[in-house]
Structure formats: structure tokens, C-alpha cells
């Protein structure tokens, strides 16, 4: 059984697209990254999972419950941290948490007090007085009080300072170690890179790739940095797969996706002082994908 499974899930707002034929499979216990730029369809996807929106076509299941017909059962086992936290401003933090807990028929137990202590949240403050970061902490706590099986996080770290981000990731990892599946939507690629097992990239409402983080990196590009013995030497590499080249004094750096042996053969002809081949960051992979897809679309 998958934690999340969608089949050609699509949402249109009139003629505008939300998401198009989304096919996702998230295994139980996974930490699944969902990345894409603003407006790509991440929040639409999440809102479809939570029945805030209804699909234009296709279907989706969460732990085998249909996202349209059995949404109440889904919400009972899902915790959700929204990208922008909007709660009832006139309520106090404790009141909101108690209000939320009553929907799940749970009480604020030691697990809850532990979370409050770790995230250092004042329960007696009014929500209207909370900073963006504190609102986010509140959202994280309320998403966990009923011990969900699936945690849906929509840009969860925005507004949190680095120390709180660390605490947040510790909490999430602990939850995952306890069997909670994590669906992590973000546009901060380094977070996804560090944190997730698998990742799907969404662009303009479509999934452009879904893979393990490691496979994604392998399939993608390498960053090659060269230091030449001679300044201002112009080089023109013929090996297919050189993507983007930057030059500075006697240094050259480029992304490469192709046969490394052929590249090294060609490079051995050059007066190289130092060569550095590194794994690209997810940021670079991401940009690479977008460029490829844009090229495909134009063709």
C-alpha cells in the first residue's frame, strides 16, 4: 500500500491549469520531496489531497482512502503544515491547540509538551501577536498532536531561524523514524537534498521527474572545474555533453552530462594544472531539468 498514490490527477481553474495528469507514488515511511518553483502546482496538489479542492479529472488515494470520497478518514490520519499560517487571530496559542486536538479526540499530552519545549513556543500568547516564525512553530505542533501517519509539509521552514530549522528537522526525522510518512513540498533544494529519500520535480503543473535523490544526481550532470597553466587560454571542448561553461582568468567551470572517459581524453590534451569533478548541487540539477524541458517544449 502506498501512502500517496495519484492517477492522472488534474485540476483546472476554468481555463487556467493547476496541475496536469499528476502520477505520484509515495511509499509508506518515505520522506518524499516535492519541489518546483512558485506557481508550479505544489500547493494545488496538497489542497487536492486535503479536499480543499476537487479534481477536474483523475483520482488519488491516501493510505488507500479516496481523496474525494473518504476525505474525513484521510484528515484523521494526516498532519498538515501550510505554507502560510492563518489561524484565528483572537485565540491564544493554547486555545487553538486544544480546539484542534478536540477534532481528533486527543488531549494535549506529554508528547505535546515536549514539542512545545523543543520549539520554545509561548502557549499564552495571542495568535495575532505571533511572528511568522512562531506561527510556523504552532503549525508544526498542531500537525503532530494527533500522531498522524502522514505529514504534509508545504514550505515548512519559511520563517524559521536556522536553529529552529534544525529542531524542526530533528522533530520530523524522529517522526519518520516512528513510521510517519513525510510529504515535503519546498522550493529550497538544499533542504530536500539533505532530508528526502525520493523527490519529484514539478514544473508548470506536470511532474518532470521522479526519482531517488541519489539516482537523480547520478543521471544528471557533473560539475567540472579546471585550472589551466596558461592564463587567458581559450578552450573549445568538442566532447558532447558540455552544458554550460563559465570562464574566469585561468579557470574554467562547466556542467557536463555525457561520457566522462571521452571528456577526460580530450582534457588530457590541455595544459591543466588542477581538475575538480564534483557532484552538482540539486540546485544545478533543477536548473538543468528546467532548461531541458523548456527546450523540449519549444521544439
Amino acid at each position: 500500500m502506498y501512502a500517496i498514490e495519484t492517477d492522472s490527477l488534474a485540476k483546472f481553474y476554468g481555463k487556467s491549469r493547476g496541475i496536469i495528469d499528476l502520477n505520484l507514488k509515495v511509499k509508506e515511511g518515505d520522506i518524499f520531496g516535492f519541489i518546483g518553483p512558485n506557481g508550479a502546482g505544489k500547493s494545488t496538489t496538497i489542497r487536492l489531497f486535503l479536499s480543499l479542492l476537487f479534481p477536474s479529472r483523475g483520482s488519488g488515494k491516501i493510505f488507500d482512502y479516496d481523496i474525494v470520497k473518504q476525505s474525513t478518514k484521510i484528515k484523521q490520519i494526516v498532519g498538515f503544515v501550510p505554507s502560510e499560517v492563518h489561524y484565528y487571530d483572537n485565540m491564544k496559542v493554547r486555545e487553538l491547540l486544544e480546539y484542534s486536538a478536540r477534532f481528533y479526540k486527543v488531549s494535549l499530552n506529554s508528547h505535546f509538551h515536549n514539542l512545545v519545549e523543543i520549539l520554545d513556543l509561548d502557549l499564552n500568547r495571542r495568535i495575532s501577536d505571533l511572528s511568522m516564525g512562531n506561527r510556523k512553530k504552532l503549525a508544526v505542533i498542531q500537525s503532530l498532536i494527533h500522531k498522524p501517519k502522514l505529514l504534509i509539509l508545504d514550505e515548512p521552514t519559511s520563517g524559521l531561524d536556522p536553529l529552529m530549522q534544525k529542531h524542526f528537522f530533528d522533530i520530523i526525522k524522529e517522526a519518520n523514524a516512528g513510521g510517519v510518512t513525510i510529504f515535503f513540498s519546498s522550493h529550497i533544494l538544499s533542504e530536500v537534498e539533505k532530508f528526502c529519500h525520493r523527490v519529484a520535480i514539478i514544473k508548470e503543473g506536470k511532474i518532470v521527474n521522479e526519482d531517488d535523490i541519489s539516482s537523480l544526481k547520478e543521471k544528471a550532470v557533473s560539475r567540472v572545474s579546471l585550472m589551466l597553466k596558461e592564463n587567458n587560454l581559450k578552450i573549445c571542448l568538442k566532447t558532447p555533453g558540455v552544458i554550460k561553461s563559465d570562464k574566469s582568468n585561468n579557470g574554467h567551470s562547466f556542467l557536463f552530462q555525457g561520457c566522462m572517459t571521452d571528456l577526460l581524453k580530450e582534457l588530457s590534451q590541455l595544459p591543466i594544472e588542477k581538475i575538480n569533478i564534483t557532484e552538482p548541487s540539486l540546485e544545478e540539477i533543477f536548473i538543468h531539468f528546467y532548461r531541458d524541458k523548456i527546450t523540449e517544449d519549444k521544439q
Binding site: 486535503l50 479542492l53 476537487f54 494526516v78 498538515f80 492563518h86 484565528y88 480546539y99 484542534s100 477534532f103
Partner: protein, 268 residues
């Protein structure tokens, strides 16, 4: 119904209810207090009023013979405090209960709790009904006590009850109409002003119908026309067709509210 949501909404709208009730009770007390001071000179005042042009008398819901009894006097002002002010309160609350969630973006929180859409609608409609009922009960009791004290309880309480029940049904209609309009809204925006305009226009149409027979077609656009204000006539009581009109139209609005909200996209 979800009791947690119901209690929360009850608390959230309490202030509106208290303000609405206070204004209406104050208005009843003021007008009935006015009657006590006018009582001795009622014939002269009534004569003075009769010099007002006929169409204006109709528009103001004043008839010369009306002020000869306390219920007649009460009826003249009743139109303003329950059907008009009560309906404004009801449509305001009906709109606010749902639209505030979307406007303040708290709908995302509410709809991600384990609740069905029907539970949300039912809890909110019950809060609406509870406060409209509360407001009308307070107004009825205030009116009854005032009339009772002035006449030493020589009043027809049943007639007063029937009159207020019609007022209550009108308020319910406008409350659920406001709620229904919010359900139909595609974007979160304030429509409380629109709601008040709807009530005022309906009242205005009723006034026009009273002034001239040429505008009778407007009776389809105003529920005010279906109020039975002939409290001074013999055999004044509930008329089945009027009850059917009010209960039926409100019931339909509730039914369609449930139906449309079940599949409504919440655009935050």
C-alpha cells in the same frame, strides 16, 4: 453536527448577537416608552398623522385606526425592529459565518480537520438559527412585557406571538439567503454590504407595492410581502400558505447550500 465547531462559532458570534439584541431591545423600549407618554393625547396625534398624504401613511405602515390599541401602535414600529433590523442582523450573520473563514484564510485550517463539509455547514447553520431564534425570543419577550405592563396585561398574547413568529421566519429566510450567497461565492471577499442592500431593497419593494398597485409584480422579489401584519383583524393567526412560503424557501436555500458546499473549491 460537530459540537466543537458549534461551540467555537457560538463564542465567535456572541458579540454580534449581543450588539444586535441590545439595539433591537433598546428600540422596542424607546418606542413603547414613547407610547406611555403619548397615550393620553393619542386621538390628537392620530389626527395629526392622518393629515399626512395617504401614500406616505401606507409607506410608513401607518393606518389611522391603528393607534387606538397598543397592538396597533406596536405593529407600526414592529416592522422596523424585527423584519427590518432583525433581517439585517440575520443576513449579516449568515454571510459572516462562512465568508470570514475564507476571507481570513482560516478555511484551510478548518477544512483540514477531520470534518465532513456537511458537518461544517450544519454546525454553522445551527449557530445562525440559534442566534436568530435568541434575538427573536428576546424581542418577543420585551415587546410582550412592554405591552403587558402598559395595558395591565389586557393584550392578545397569541396575536403578538403569531406576529413575531412571522418576523422570525423572515429573519431565518434572510439568514440562510446570506449563507447561500456565501456558498456560491467563488472568491473570498466581503459581501456584507451586498447583503444589507438585499434586505433594504426588499423592504423598499414592499413599500412601493403598498403605495401603488402598478408595482404588484415586485411581490415576487420581496419576502416582506408575505408577512401577515393584520394583527388587529379578528381570527388573526397562522396561515398555512405563508408558512409554506417561508419554510419552503428557507428549506430550499439550506438544501442548495449543502449541495453546493459539498463540492466547493476553497480558494484561499
Amino acid at each position: 453536527m460537530n459540537i466543537n465547531l458549534f461551540c467555537k462559532e457560538l463564542k465567535r458570534s456572541l458579540k454580534d448577537f449581543l450588539i444586535g439584541s441590545f439595539v433591537i431591545i433598546l428600540f422596542i423600549l424607546m418606542t413603547m416608552g414613547m407610547y406611555s407618554t403619548m397615550e393620553d393625547n393619542m386621538a390628537a396625534i392620530s389626527d395629526l398623522y392622518s393629515k399626512i398624504p395617504k401614500f406616505l401613511q401606507e409607506a410608513m405602515n401607518f393606518r389611522q385606526d391603528q393607534w387606538t390599541s397598543i397592538l396597533g401602535f406596536y405593529l407600526t414600529y414592529f416592522v422596523y425592529y424585527i423584519p427590518l433590523m432583525g433581517s439585517v442582523f440575520s443576513i449579516y450573520l449568515g454571510i459572516k459565518l462562512l465568508s470570514k473563514e475564507e476571507q481570513n484564510k482560516t478555511a484551510e485550517f478548518l477544512l483540514s480537520r477531520p470534518l465532513t463539509r456537511d458537518q461544517i455547514i450544519l454546525s454553522k447553520l445551527l449557530v445562525l438559527g440559534f442566534y436568530i431564534f435568541g434575538l427573536n425570543i428576546l424581542a418577543f419577550l420585551t415587546g410582550m412585557i412592554c405591552c403587558g405592563i402598559i395595558t395591565d396585561w389586557a393584550i392578545n398574547i397569541y396575536s403578538l406571538f403569531v406576529l413575531h413568529t412571522y418576523g422570525f421566519l423572515l429573519c431565518i429566510f434572510f439568514g440562510v439567503l446570506g449563507f447561500f450567497i456565501t456558498v456560491l461565492m467563488k472568491r473570498a471577499k466581503t459581501i456584507i454590504g451586498t447583503g444589507i442592500i438585499i434586505v433594504m431593497s426588499s423592504y423598499f419593494f414592499d413599500m412601493i407595492i403598498r403605495i401603488s398597485d402598478n408595482f404588484k409584480f415586485l411581490l415576487y422579489l420581496t419576502p416582506f410581502k408575505y408577512l401577515d401584519l393584520n394583527i388587529l383583524t379578528q381570527n388573526y393567526g397562522f396561515e398555512a400558505w405563508r408558512l409554506i412560503v417561508f419554510i419552503g424557501s428557507s428549506g430550499l436555500l439550506v438544501f442548495f447550500s449543502f449541495m453546493f458546499y459539498r463540492r466547493k473549491d476553497i480558494l484561499i
